[in-house]
């Protein structure tokens, strides 16, 4: 691997930066936090037109066949800009699930629509906690002659309230071999979606499955194949979150340093005080290390190299570094930073949500420990 982005990634990243600097702004971020949908369909359409929804979709399904590292470049800029919307759930989760687990027919049916931005997806798999083993999955499937009946409550399902299809992981028994993924179209009887109010105002939902009848055609791929597909997608999601966090961290450091240079107290810029300088130096360290490890992990994922340990090192490191970085930003920006109108506090709330998503720090460290042979 190189320590630099490839030419194409750089271009992608720059165009994404341009796009979001035009389309996103502080007022819109706040508006979307209050908005029922939680995203701007107008921006969504523009993004689709550029081709970002189909970024990691193969060309045969009208996608751009880009690598995971390319996708990460866009995600970083989304994190930087404070973008909110169903991109992560549709592209990082949805298209990847379809690609890794779907039948040819399912791919043909859904991927082109998705790539055009006309089909929103999401994934329901967690209950009150991140499931570690198959037995922890909150959704239970019962096999019937003509298909399956699903029951249970899944929580923290991003943008389920607007998704055209919810892909859900359900278990028949308690072993990994008994987990299947299902495609659940919007409006399926027995499915109730309700938004949760979360700190990051990020449209995580409760999805209740009450005697939901699904046919075999709703199975993503084949019965019993769900667990490894789910795990593979969750690993990518963890790293994708890191890319978002790196972008956010970069923005926070910029906000902070700009403030420290401008704000004067005791007759000089506060950025000339050693305590402030050292906070900023630590922030820079958190940012650079997060960017380095995320880049390296993306490269491995993109190359298809097995890298469970690497993924968990990345997610645990970036989650913690980012939380600390934003905390230091607040310490530097003081009263100005903790007002609702300061953008900093948005990144603070999102940092915690990102830390908790797809495995928290302790969970990923435990994976690393197991990979170390402990």
């Amino acid at each position: 691997m190189s320590y630099e982005l490839g030419v194409e990634q750089k271009m992608l990243k720059e165009s994404a930066r341009d796009f979001f600097s035009k389309e996103m702004n502080s007022a819109l971020i706040r508006e979307l936090e209050e908005d029922e949908k939680g995203y701007s369909p107008k921006i969504w359409k523009k993004m689709a037109k550029i081709g970002w929804m189909g970024l990691n979709v193969p060309e045969e399904y009208d996608g751009a066949a880009a690598t995971f590292a390319d996708l990460a470049a866009i995600l970083e800029e989304m994190g930087h800009a404070g973008y909110a919307g169903p991109f992560f759930s549709t592209v990082v989760l949805g298209s990847s699930l379809l690609l890794k687990g779907g039948s040819e027919a399912q791919k043909e049916a859904l991927l082109p629509k998705l790539a055009q931005g006309n089909h929103l997806l999401t994934l329901a798999y967690a209950g009150q906690a991140e499931p570690i083993a198959a037995a922890d999955l909150p959704l239970q499937a019962t096999a019937k002659e003509d298909g399956y009946v699903l029951n249970g409550v899944s929580l923290f399902v991003p943008f389920a309230h607007v998704a055209d299809t919810i892909i859900c992981a359900a278990r028949i028994g308690s072993s990994a071999e008994e987990v299947s993924l299902f495609l659940v179209p919007k409006g399926t009887a027995g499915v109730a979606v309700q938004e949760l109010q979360t700190m990051a105002a990020d449209k995580q939902c409760e999805v209740v499955f009450d005697q939901v009848r699904l046919s075999r055609e709703n199975l993503l791929g084949t019965a019993g194949s769900g667990w490894p597909v789910l795990q593979a997608v969750l690993r990518e999601a963890a790293v994708a979150k890191c890319a978002e966090m790196v972008g956010g961290a970069r923005k926070v450091l910029k906000l902070t340093v700009d403030y420290a240079k401008k704000r004067e107290q005791f007759g000089r810029p506060i950025g000339s005080f050693q305590a402030i300088q050292h906070h900023c130096a630590d922030m820079l360290t958190y940012l650079d290390t997060s960017a380095l490890i995320t880049h390296a992990t993306c490269v491995q994922l993109a190359a298809g190299i097995p890298c469970d340990k690497q993924v968990s090192m990345c997610k645990s490191w970036v989650s913690e570094a980012n939380r600390r970085l934003v905390g230091l930003g607040h310490q530097v920006m003081g009263g100005f930073g903790f007002m609702e109108e300061a953008d900093l506090q948005i990144y603070y709330r999102r940092a915690k949500a990102a830390e908790q998503a797809y495995g928290d720090v302790a969970r990923h460290r435990e994976i690393v420990a197991a990979e170390l042979g402990l």
């Binding site: 991140e130 700190m199 310490q331 003081g334 009263g335 109108e341």
Partner: protein, 389 residues
Amino acid sequence: MKIPLNQEEQQVLDEVRRFFAQEITPELLEESHHLEYIYGGEEGRKFVQKFAPKGWLTPCWPKEYGGLETSEMLMYAIRNEMAYHRVPIHFAGAHMAGPSILRYGTEEMKKEYLPRLATGEIEFALGYSEPAAGSDLMALEMHAADKGDHFLVNGQKTFNTHAHVADYHWLAVRTNLEGPKHKGISILIVDLKNTPGITVRPMITMAGTRTNEVFYDNVKVPRRNLVGEVNSGFKYIMAALDFERMFPWGHYKKYFEEILAYTKTATRNGKPLAKDPLIRQKLAEHATELEVIHHLYFNLAHLLDNGKIPNYQASMEKNFLSEFEQRLSNTAMEILGPMGQLKTGSKHAVLEGFPEWLYRWTIIETIYGGSAEIQRNIMAQRGLGLPRA
């Protein structure tokens, strides 16, 4: 750990506890939380005016001004009990303006304000910070022109947290534009509700709580409202900051107990949280930190009761507590996992959504009332005699 009170004082504290057990209503708690525990709301006033007349709000004040002439220790104990019960706890009047008036005010001023402060009848708002004067209070610019029998005040304040609920402003103004900055500041008491020319505008924090910016436009303040000597205000502010830097911590004891209780019953993926060694270590660490805070806090009372003014010790307590709050809030989020991010009122919210609110609120705590960096400067310079740069 027991609080070192004599028997009589212990009886008062016991009585206070019984009173709280009986008198605290859900409406009071809701308002109190909504006002981030500052005094001045309707429910808060009803509640405080029931117990303050017993001398419990200002027990260590002289009897003639509404106190009980007890030790500071008892006052600290009661304040902390109030914090534990999540009733209003931030009294700019009883705990900052009041003690300053006691020390520096004229007899007339004492008689005018102290008894009403002691009973909770009136509340003050602090008027220190300005857009260009945060950590650097000395830089404040709000101007009060000396017009003989009154001052004419013009300018802007920010972060005046009580201003929308308080009756009076404890206002720091510049009365001398020449000479060293710290020798041109005075303190005025301003009737916030009955003085023309004052505009109070809300500023909302990331915790959804309100603070204010306050604009003075040709506001006339009678000369008799000048506290102590003219141009000596900075000295009074510094002394009062030492009072403010004594932060009760009972709410965090309570919060810790709630997390502990939750941990004892809850499971994650089928395993009891209480048996998770990482959680056990963290909660033990926090229990220990609470014990440390207990001593840092009551030692301040001890110093006062022995005729000493805590200064670096107050900074230490403030920093230790506020940084602890952030650690505790983060631990709670780790224990609760994704459930921790659910807000009050959301479906499935745990501990009534307090954890996510505190996770936002505690960020403010290491900045309010003098940032952690300023407190460390004070500890180094006042506590250890290290030289200024």
